[in-house]
């Protein structure tokens, strides 16, 4: 006999049986009301408190992670600023060495020019010889009025002639002296120009130096801000990090496309070398071999970039002594060059195999074989691509470094966001648990409302009876867990 049929058969009348059962249930629920309310209150509090505690712990972890992210970001920013500052200082040092290295020579040139100018000036300062003083005497004699004496006249004519000759030669001498003086002055012009040029050079160098000094000032200022961990520096670094992440990701995607093309160029001919029907796991051995070659090329590219100190993914390579580093540059470059040559040959082989396959398919289809026009162009194209792509893939190292360094920050932000979301959800669950407990208690009371109503009537009657009992009844009412909760 099932419970349902047992309930229905308590009395001969089903309706009566159901009514009795309902009343019994109502009474049982009424008497269990207080423990039920307490257990529900405890249960909802357990959920609420545990979830709040968990949310607090998660939020604290998020805070710690945020601090850690900031520290990482600042460290990365500081390193980057250090590098930039170092490079700018190196540039400045090179410029100073280049321009000021020739300073003694320039100074000597300037001194020589100045000495030359002084000498020229001194030479040009020599006044041309004036007309001889005796000319005045002769002129005075020549001005004597003729007396008619032929001898005197002859003498005076001679004097006049002599005077004229002397005057002519004096004027010529004077002109010669003046011309010489002008010559000295005009010879001073190149020295002036040289002096001017050297001074202009110096002023340009000084302007460049000032510009570089300003740039260094900016870097130092940025460095200082990062060290002080200012909000501005943090925002700038995080925005720069996000930009780098997406830019580097985009470039890596493009590089991935290049690698896929490269792979397609060498996968088919690799089957000639390692066999076309062998498998490693679910992959063809020839495909794996092609992929390994590309990965080796990328690795060599990374090492080359590290050896050139363009990237800093492997500090061991960067800190090698210059001789060893140069050796490494040559070794990696040689391997890359050989691999590029191999790829080029494989691309050629691919073209031949593909042509052979196409010819076979034409034979199988019963189509007459035709020689394709400009057949060699794709062959050369594939060979050139096969040679260039390994070197192009070398440059993947640069965006890869940016991507790795920026992804650290971005992943940190994502983790913080996730933790905050978890904390929010935990708090939400806690609150939902708390209010669900209250809701269930209220629904429970709603179900047993007839019993509560009867209780209320009885208590009201008791209130109208003795005052002590009235207090007891009101106390009993207040002790109701529901009311306790309301008070809380």
């Amino acid at each position: 006999m099932s419970i349902g049929s047992f309930i229905l058969n308590i009395t001969p009348y089903q309706e009566l049986s159901i009514l009795i059962c309902l009343i019994t249930l109502l009474l049982a629920m009424y008497f269990a009301r207080k423990p039920f309310h307490r257990s529900m209150a405890s249960f909802s509090k357990i959920i609420h408190s545990s979830m709040r505690l968990s949310a607090f712990a998660v939020a604290r972890s998020a805070g710690l992670l945020r601090q850690r992210n900031k520290a990482v970001l600042m460290a990365a920013g500081l390193e980057s600023a250090d590098r930039a500052l170092h490079r700018e200082l190196e540039r400045m040092s090179t410029a100073i060495e280049r321009d000021l290295g020739g300073y003694p020579q320039l100074q000597r040139q300037l001194t020589e020019t100045i000495v030359q100018l002084e000498e020229d000036y001194t030479s040009s300062a020599e006044i041309p010889q004036a007309l001889p003083d005796w000319v005045k005497v002769i002129k005075a004699v020549a001005d004597i009025k003729p007396t008619g004496d032929s001898m005197v006249a002859k003498m005076l004519e001679d004097i006049n002639e002599t005077l004229q000759n002397q005057h002519r030669s004096a004027v010529e001498k004077h002109r010669e002296d003046v011309s010489k003086r002008h010559g000295i002055l005009s010879n001073m012009m190149p020295s002036f120009r040289s002096l001017n040029k050297n001074i202009e050079k110096m002023s340009l160098f000084l302007a460049d130096l000032i510009k570089r000094a300003k740039t260094i000032d900016l870097f130092i200022d940025e460095h200082r801000q990062i060290r002080q961990e200012t909000d501005g520096a943090g925002q700038k670094l995080s925005s720069s990090s996000l930009t780098q992440f997406f830019t580097a990701g985009l470039v890596l995607l493009i590089a991935f496309g290049g690698a896929v093309i490269n792979f397609n160029l060498i996968a088919l001919p690799m089957s000639e070398m390692v066999g076309g029907g062998n498998y490693i796991g679910p992959f063809k051995t020839s495909d794996v071999a092609g992929l390994v070659i590309i990965l080796i090329e990328v690795t060599m590219g990374l090492f080359l970039m590290e050896s050139l100190r363009i990237t800093r993914l492997f500090p061991v390579i960067g800190s090698m002594d210059d001789r060893m580093r140069r050796r490494m540059i040559w070794i990696t470059f040689s391997i890359l060059f050989i691999l590029a040559g191999v790829e080029s040959a494989l691309a050629f082989m691919r073209d031949r195999i593909a042509a052979d396959m196409a010819a076979l398919r034409q034979t199988l289809a019963g189509v007459e074989q035709s020689e394709a026009a400009f057949r060699m162009i794709p062959t050369y194209g594939q060979m050139i691509m096969g040679f260039i792509l390994p070197f192009a893939l070398t440059f993947v190292a640069i965006p890869l470094e940016s991507f790795i360094s920026s992804s650290r920050t971005v992943l940190g932000y994502v983790a913080v966001g996730f933790l905050l979301l978890v904390a929010f959800l935990l708090r939400l669950i806690g609150n939902l648990g708390f209010y669900m407990g209250r809701l269930i208690s209220n629904v429970y009371d709603m179900i047993i409302y007839p019993a509560i109503w009867v209780e209320g009537v009885i208590l009201a009657k008791m209130q109208t009876g003795t005052p002590g009992k009235q207090d007891a009844a009101s106390t009993k009412l207040k002790e109701s867990p529901l009311l306790v909760e309301e008070v809380e």
Binding site: G275, G276, G277, N278, D356, T363, L364
Partner: protein
């Protein structure tokens, strides 16, 4: 030290997992019915062979045999080849294969009887011997078996791991009159291949039938 051993163990397991090379080579045995009027259908068979040669890859095995009076014989194998691992050599092998098939199609003589079961047994024997990973037996026939006196073919086929495909199962004149005969013939072959027990569980191979030769790609579909 313990950690080191564990790590070594993991690495060895991984390497072993990688080096486990599953045999993925395909073996295809094509049986060509040369009896009676069906011999006229051999031109169609040529297109099937061309399709298969275009599809099979280095390392795969391909054999073509004729169905005649006594097909359980190596003499009936027209051409058989396991393609080389190098694609260029494979292409040359395929060219040689076509040449052999062309010669066969030109010089084929009609047989009186149709020993399909003998051909299937020969195919099973050959493909098991080659040991390819996937085994396909293609029967280019109307599936009407006619055995010569004294030929006993009540040997059960051991077709586990095989896929048997009937190609171009043409309807005979009697089939047109009574389609039940055609359906019964196909059903008999299906039962022979699948070997289902009373519970309907198959102990044999996989059966398929392709009449539309434009749908040949279904041969290698799972």
């Amino acid at each position: 030290m313990k950690k080191l051993y564990i790590m070594l163990g993991v690495v060895i397991c991984l390497l072993a997992g990688c080096s486990q090379t599953e045999n993925r080579n395909r073996g295809v045995f094509l049986l060509l019915d040369t009896s009676g009027t069906y011999a006229l259908e051999l031109k169609k068979a040529r297109s099937i062979i061309n399709y298969l040669l275009g599809t099979l890859e280095p390392g795969d095995t391909f054999a073509v045999a004729s169905i005649d009076t006594g097909s359980f014989s190596e003499k009936d194998i027209v051409a058989k080849m396991t393609f080389d691992q190098r694609p260029s050599t494979t292409n040359n092998q395929k060219r040689l294969f076509i040449k052999k098939i062309d010669e066969f199609v030109q010089n084929v003589s009609k047989s009186k009887y149709t020993d399909i079961s003998g051909g299937v047994l020969q195919a099973i024997d050959y493909l098991n011997e080659v040991g390819t990973g996937k085994k396909y037996i293609l029967i280019f026939s109307d599936l009407k078996e006619e055995l010569a006196d004294g030929h006993i073919r009540d040997v059960p086929f051991e077709l586990e791991g095989f896929k048997v495909i009937a190609l171009n199962v043409t309807k005979l004149r009697t089939d047109i009159k009574d389609p039940k005969q055609y359906l019964k013939r196909v059903e008999v072959w299906r039962q022979k291949v699948e070997q289902r027990d009373e519970s309907g569980r198959s102990h044999g191979g996989v059966w398929d039938r392709i009449n539309d030769l434009e749908r040949l790609d279904a041969i290698f579909k799972k």
